[in-house]
């Protein structure tokens, strides 16, 4: 099997699985799920050798050609793509396996697994794409898969609304993204990534327009509103699409088009990421739904990655390699962002699947204040979830510690305000995660569901274990370095006194947040913050709802009314006055025609035929 064939197989196997399921297995849920899992497994099997052999390759075929426009279907397998390929296929496979258990009793299992396969196809397409047009194609397709899977329980109004919202909000971002691609094509005559690497015209508009796509897909402010709602989808979907992979595609895109970046654009990107990180962390503090907490946490962590990317290229020290000064500017941002993307994929997938395990164990109870005491009833879930919590809050030695430190260090070097904001976010992260962890797993069971909770079967626990191991070891260079190749060299590394400072800072913020939450929140059925300081609590709630309010107002009051007004004008003014006026004139002619109006259908048909013949006869000079 040649390299190109392997890449092609990675891309097409999930598509094939989805097609087979859609065409033949709609009513055989069990078989459909195994077909989908097998395809995901085969993708991992093909990916691993590519990653560990550090195989690099490109190749393409022409997909569309019109005039000077050529769109090609090609792949670019470099270090960045390989890292992402590993994350997507490996985490994806684990979540497929987890879904076997999670969706066991779902009547529409076939549709679910077909959707997962479509998603894998689309996501792998983004990873492999060698040009922006192709990337956009798959970018839209992950949006579709996301719609499909959020909409899985479509009988629920909330799920149907959330799916629609997710797709539309993403389309708003893609408005800018597509314009950016088109502009880039006209400026440079190409949107091929390697060719852009080699040569491109500097422009601030292109990267900013492309970043609009990231706002949507990676749910950055102000387009973040769809992600919390997307939790209406089945939990494994939240883990795969709305935490580990698809939402990270925005960060991957930024790294892919890194060369196009200019300082102005990067400053904006860093600011947007920072604001999102802080805002979402604040929102997470007052959530009660276990998945919503994790969703806001995801938003916040994505903000971290975006901020990291944006930071990377401002005034960084140039590196000397021998006598040659290598211009590595933006690349530190890429390293830090991709590092955190990878570790986040591991521990956030772990946390979501852990939440899924809790939700199944407790018969779909998602309110943490109605859970409690699960530490003993679901020991394996508890243990792995604990590892996930420790990883995300940055416990030294775990994956999240290393990647978060890299970002904090970069921020400290580059921008004090961003550093302070991100450090504050880290405090909040530790705070809301420990809150979630303590209230869910400690104390007494506070509902019948939690009382009768039981640990789940191996299809669900094994993925948890594997992800827990990755959440521990994923940050070490022996693992990440192996996966990321040269991208790992771009991770900023604190040395000397900076190392000590950053270590102290991160230990400090972690213990502050975690300790505060541990002592502030009793494992009880009410929210301590709401009880003790309702002003702060309602401020956070208002903060969270402000965006939805504004958008809700826009949709209901502005957009819809504008549409009604235009519709009125169209119907009354255009169609009514102007056209009826004309019709009156024609109506006079109608008097004559009415003589022929016999109401007999055959008559019409024969009149028509006769007329044709007469016309013809006249034209040919028959008369």
């Amino acid at each position: 099997m040649s390299l190109a064939q392997m890449v092609l197989a990675i891309l097409l196997l999930p598509l094939g699985a989805a097609a087979v399921i859609a065409l033949f297995l709609r009513k055989q849920g069990a078989l459909a799920s195994w077909v989908s899992v097998a395809a995901a497994g085969a993708v991992v099997a093909l990916t691993l050798p590519l990653v560990f052999l550090q195989a690099g390759a490109t190749g393409s075929v022409e997909w569309l050609r019109l005039g000077s426009l050529t769109v090609s279907l090609g792949f670019k397998l470099d270090d960045l793509a390989r890292l992402m390929l590993f994350v997507v296929s490996f985490v994806g496979f684990l979540i497929h396996v987890f879904s076997l258990g999670y969706m066991r009793n779902d009547p529409a299992r076939a549709r679910y697994f077909g959707g997962l396969s479509i998603f894998m196809f689309s996501m792998l397409g983004i990873v492999l794409a060698d040009n922006l047009f192709m990337l956009f194609v798959f970018w839209e397709l992950v949006g579709f898969s996301s719609w499909l899977l959020i909409n899985h329980w479509h009988e629920r109004q909330s799920a149907a609304d959330a799916a629609k919202k997710a797709f539309i909000v993403n389309r708003v971002g893609d408005f800018g993204f597509l314009l950016g691609i088109v502009m880039c094509w006209w400026l440079n005559g190409t949107v091929n990534l390697s060719e852009l690497d080699a040569r491109h015209i500097v422009s601030a508009a292109v990267p900013l327009l492309l970043f609009c796509g990231v706002l949507g897909k990676s749910a950055q402010m102000p387009l973040h509103v769809w992600l919390p709602d997307a939790m209406e989808g089945p939990t494994p979907v939240s883990a795969l699409i709305h935490a580990a992979t698809m939402v990270a595609a925005g960060i991957y895109l930024l790294c892919r088009v890194n060369v196009l970046m200019v300082p102005e654009a990067l400053n904006i990107i860093a600011s947007v990421g920072t604001v999102t990180a802080v805002y979402a962390a604040l929102c997470a503090v007052v959530q009660r739904d276990i998945k919503k907490i994790l969703a806001y946490s995801t938003l916040s962590q994505l903000g971290y990655m975006v901020a990291a990317f944006g930071l990377g290229s401002t005034h960084i020290v140039l590196r000397k390699v021998g006598v040659v000064v290598v211009d590595l500017w933006a690349s530190f941002g890429v390293g830090a962002a991709m590092f955190h993307l990878t570790t986040h994929a591991f521990f956030k997938a772990l946390l979501f699947l852990g939440a899924g395990s809790v939700i199944i164990g407790c018969h779909h109870e998602q309110d943490i204040f109605k859970l409690g005491g699960l530490r003993k009833k679901m020991p394996l879930t508890f243990a792995t979830f604990t590892i996930g919590v420790l990883a995300i809050i940055g416990m030294p030695g775990l994956a999240g510690f290393f990647s978060k430190d890299a970002i904090l260090y970069l921020a400290m070097e580059k921008s004090t305000p961003i550093f302070l904001a991100l450090a504050f976010t880290a405090v909040l992260t530790a705070f809301y995660m420990v809150r979630l962890w303590k209230i869910t797993f400690f104390g007494e069971a506070r509902s019948a569901e939690a009382k009768h909770a039981t640990e789940n079967g191996i299809s669900m626990t094994v993925p948890l274990l594997v992800l827990a191991i990755l959440s521990v070891v994923g940050g070490y260079s022996g693992v990440f370095g192996r996966l990321a190749g040269r991208v790992a060299d771009l991770v900023p590394d604190a040395e000397g006194s900076a190392h000590t400072t950053i270590l102290l800072v991160s230990l400090g913020v972690m213990s502050l947040g975690a300790g505060a939450a541990w002592f502030f929140y009793p494992a009880a059925g009410t929210d301590a913050l709401e009880a003790k300081s309702s002003v702060v609590f309602s401020f956070f709630v208002a903060l969270k709802e402000s965006f939805d309010r504004v958008y809700g107002y826009y949709v209901a009051k502005i957009q819809q009314r504008f549409a009604m007004v235009l519709n009125f004008l169209d119907n009354i003014v255009l169609a009514g006055f102007i056209i009826r006026g004309l019709a009156g004139l024609v109506g006079l002619l109608g008097y004559g025609a009415r003589a022929l109006h016999t109401g007999n259908l055959h008559a019409y048909v024969y009149w028509f035929l006769l007329g044709t013949v007469l016309l013809w006869a006249f034209a040919t000079g028959f008369f």
Partner: protein
């Protein structure tokens, strides 16, 4: 490849529905009439696919499968000249496939006086196939009228609510539009001095001796507003939502899907190549009408619709705006996008109109606000409808995406602001498309639907409904996955016919 044979097949494809209509009119018993009609829809589709497969894409600039028949009008420079080039080939396939789907659906529609309904559909189908295969402008127009008149009859007789008003309005608009474009065509014939309606001759003649700018300006204006009315250019569009709202489904499928493309096709094959300076003169007017009127304005109007068929009608008008914008871009990229989008839109809108009727059979209403939760009873119908909606809002994987993409790319060179307006339309169409899908199929069942379901439990799509839908969907996906099946031939044809349009703007980047 045996060209004379294929030329015969092309003639056969056009003759079959017309002759069958005649046979049915002469009174074959109904049982045979249905079989005959089925065969008469299937044969042209099969021929179209065969010709498509054998079409030499690289030679798309020349008319393939050509033949010439004298019909007694040679004195006027008119003869029945048939052939397909890279632009007409995809549209001929569109006509064949949508015709077959509409025919299959009509066969089981249980319409009253089914025989006459089928007869009219067959005449329409013959006209549509002939229209795209005509190299002679007279016959191009003649076949269009042949397809148009049965449309009026079908809307007036088999139509739904408001059918009389709708039929009258459609007739007035489309007749006026057709008259204007006929005047334009005749004027070209007169002004060119070529003494011929043959498009190839006209092209050669006018390339050698272009018409003066003022003449071009007036002639293109005639064609633009004539053809524009037929394609529902804002503000000449108001017949369309009303007409489609009232038309029986197979008629709407054929008209919105195929017949409406006559005007765009005319602008691409006649207007742009023969009157390049005229086109340049009108480009901004066209771009503003189509961009602000069709795409943006009517996009919002579409959002406000409560009636499913009206909504589809408006969305179809909105998408025609993209086609006009592609034409206004005066470039091979844009025109190629128009060819792709014409085919794609034809397939997807036909699919949507068919499914709208399938939905109506189950809910007894077209009112979106009264629907809800149909997916739990009819999951396959829901899947088809969702696919059709995603196709029409330009999701990659379906043909429509490629047309829109090429048009957006071409427009940037014309004007980035107009491009932004056009791309904003993509957001708008996602809003109304997904909203409609959600209202009809998802969420808890509405009260009205529960009542309708209690009276008559709705079944999922049966095979007679699935077959035409599958045919359309499969074609959309095929072109979506492999757009070169359409674009290669179109590119060759447009490169040959269009460079004259914008001698300065043929940008040659290495990719």
């Amino acid at each position: 490849m045996n060209f004379p044979d294929n030329a015969r097949l092309l003639q056969l494809a056009i003759a079959t529905p017309l002759v069958s209509a005649l046979v049915i009119a002469l009174g074959r018993p109904k049982r045979h009439a249905l079989k005959l009609a089925a065969a008469a829809f299937a044969l042209p589709a099969l021929i179209a696919i065969r010709l498509w497969a054998q079409f030499p894409a690289g030679a798309g600039a020349d008319y393939q499968f050509a033949s010439r028949l004298d019909t007694g009008l040679a004195g006027f420079g008119i003869s029945l000249q048939l052939g397909l080039n890279g632009v007409s080939m995809p549209l001929f396939v569109l006509a064949g496939i949508v015709g077959l789907a509409a025919g299959l659906y009509a066969l089981r529609s249980g319409a009253e006086r089914l025989k006459i309904y089928l007869l009219l559909l067959l005449v329409m189908q013959g006209g549509l196939l002939g229209m795209f295969a005509s190299v002679d402008l007279f016959y191009f127009y003649f076949f269009h009228e042949l397809a148009l008149i049965p449309t009026f009859l079908m809307v007036g007789v088999w139509g739904g609510r408001d059918r009389n008003y709708a039929a009258m309005k459609m007739t007035i608009y489309l007749t006026v539009g057709a008259m204007l474009s006929l005047a334009g065509l005749i004027a070209i014939y007169v002004q060119s001095g070529a003494q011929s309606f043959d498009l190839v001759t006209l092209r050669a003649e006018l390339a050698a001796h272009p018409l003066p700018f003022t003449v071009q300006k007036h002639l293109f204006g005639l064609l633009l507003f004539g053809f524009g009315t037929l394609v529902s250019l804002w503000p000449l569009h108001t017949w369309a939502p009303l007409g489609y709202g009232a038309a029986p489904s197979s008629t709407a499928m054929l008209h919105a899907g195929v017949l409406k493309k006559f005007g765009l096709y005319g602008l691409l094959q006649v207007g742009l190549p023969l009157l390049p300076q005229g086109a340049q003169h009108w480009a901004w007017t066209l771009a503003l009408l189509a961009g602000l009127g069709n795409v943006l304005g009517l996009g919002f109007v579409t959002m406000a619709q409560r009636d499913l068929k009206q909504m589809l009608g408006y969305s179809s008008v909105m998408h025609m705006g993209y086609c006009f914008l592609g034409i206004a871009s005066l470039s091979v990229i844009g025109a190629g996008g128009v060819v792709l989008l014409m085919v794609a839109h034809g397939l997807s809108v036909a699919l949507l109109f068919q499914l709208a009727t399938c939905i109506h059979h189950r809910t007894q209403t077209f009112d979106l606000t009264e629907m809800g939760g149909l997916a739990r009873k009819a999951p396959v119908l829901a899947a088809f409808f969702a696919a059709a909606i995603f196709a029409s809002i330009g999701l990659p994987g379906f043909a429509n995406f490629w047309g829109e993409l090429a048009i957006f790319v071409a427009l940037w060179k014309f004007s980035p602001w107009i491009t932004a307006v056009a791309v904003a339309g993509v957001v708008i169409s996602a809003v109304y498309g997904l909203r409609a899908a959600a209202r009809i199929f998802y969420g808890p069942p509405s009260e009205a639907f529960q009542r309708a379901a209690a009276a008559q439990p709705p079944a999922d799509l049966d095979w007679k409904e699935r077959l035409p839908a599958l045919l359309l969907l499969a074609t959309l996906l095929f072109i979506g996955f492999w757009p070169r099946a359409v674009s290669d031939a179109a590119d060759a044809a447009l490169r040959a016919s269009l460079p004259a349009v914008v001698p300065t703007a043929t940008v040659t980047f290495h990719r």
